[in-house]
Symmetry: C2
Subunit: 266 residues, 2 copies
């Protein structure tokens, strides 16, 4: 049966409305919400009103809506993300203090890099990416790491879907990307130079759980001009290994707290 | 009309299910969810299934549920929280580097302190509070600041509701709390010593927006034994003032991005 032909349940409509805000735009008016959610205006109007009354959405004086603090608070209880964040934060603080560059922690979700935590390099290249934002896999240090250690069939699917150009030096050729990821697997780290944004470079390293599986990636993002990326590698890989040990310890003590969400796949 | 007598709409039921996770327990089984949400088991079962299919909840192998990464991602778009976090992060990093104590950023929501961001003092007292958690107003440095600068009628309402004891030195007497908050308003900072947890002390300072209104509080949490709290005051108040200037600048440039949510009130 065609999934799309089935009428949406009310819970499905509520999720569709909230999903409309998962993109980059933080403020949407009612007709934008309804268009994105695929809902008639009357239905959308009623449900958005209920969600605003419950604090899940917030009505801005100009008539637009945005995600409310209540939803932020409920979302912040997601253990798959917050557990990892809690383990990673001390290591990220150490990295920040050692380098003063941008420190990012990311996981693979829905064929994108999902930024789980970030410290801001106050004396480094400005990075606009916020926590909760997603980035392409093939243009970022964290993304290349996550892709390199993903199952081969998943990797091929991502490559086959096309490698969009984001900056002058984005790797858009499938074979070149395969060689690059092979190199990441061999060396245990990833480098990017002006592949996502002109002027910004990054180094990424894998974070593994108790089974050896790569569950996240840690990276430093620095100014291309000043960054001797290889100089950033020792602190980065040291921190990523220390975090992996913490994750493994935590995993052995409380395996049930780890995520069972599918990281790759359709 | 009695609000509670009205039957819950489906959107209301979905919100009730998600609200069940806003408390401290991150994993709940189906009957716990239904009890908290006030739903019959059959209804809860169907809606929880839909929310899990949509990635809003995640089913753990042991049969319990927890908040899914998708909801975390949508929630992380809440501008009232993330805008403030982005402005605060560099100042929090500076404070961390200067003191290596726990740095907290909090706002007032639903008569509690809501922790919006936290850096972990790796060489300080362990603080279990995570981002998204809530704390009492009267036992914490951030809470006393937020309460001291709230409208007088709101303050009195919180005091009248009772000041529960959390540790040996919690201020539970209404008049003593009034004097304490008066002192906070006069001095521009709050101190707590063993009032929330034995062994932990804190200093808090207000963060103001362009109108002079206190919109958040910044604090350092340190070990009582080692903390000369007055030594922590200069870096804390310096950072809080610098953040207030950033908030004011941001507020003048884009007033519409600031929260319109009610911080106090019923």
């Amino acid at each position: 049966m065609a999934e799309r032909a089935r009428p949406m349940s009310v819970a499905g409509k509520v999720m569709a409305i909230l999903n409309a805000f998962a993109q980059d735009d933080v403020r949407l008016n009612l007709s934008e919400i309804c268009r994105r959610a695929g809902l008639p205006l009357a239905t959308g109007h009623r449900l958005v009103g209920e969600l605003a009354a419950g604090g899940f959405l917030e009505r801005v004086p100009d008539g637009t809506y945005r995600i409310g603090t209540r939803l932020w608070r409920i979302g912040s209880q997601a253990p798959a993300v917050t557990g990892l964040r809690e383990l990673a934060l001390p290591h990220m603080e150490d990295l920040y203090e050692a380098t003063h560059d941008n420190v990012q922690l990311a996981v693979l979700r829905e064929d994108r890099v999902l930024v789980v935590e970030r410290l801001r390099g106050t004396r480094s290249v400005p990075v606009v990416t916020q926590v909760g934002a997603t980035l392409p896999l093939h243009t970022t240090g964290v993304g290349k790491v996550l892709l390199a250690f993903a199952p081969p069939e998943y990797r091929e699917r991502v490559i086959a879907a096309g490698l969009a150009r984001h900056a002058a030096r984005t790797i858009t050729d499938a074979d070149e990307m395969r060689r690059c990821l092979e190199q990441v697997r061999r060396s245990g780290y990833a480098l990017t130079r002006d592949e996502m944004t002109l002027g910004a470079s990054s180094v990424g390293a894998p974070v593994r759980d108790g089974t050896g599986e790569v569950v996240a990636a840690l990276s430093l993002v620095a100014r291309t001009r000043s960054a001797d990326l290889r100089r950033l590698l020792p602190p980065l890989t040291t921190a990523a290994r220390a975090l992996s040990r913490d994750v493994e310890r935590h995993w052995r003590a409380r395996p049930e707290t780890f995520s069972t969400e599918r990281k790759t796949g359709a």
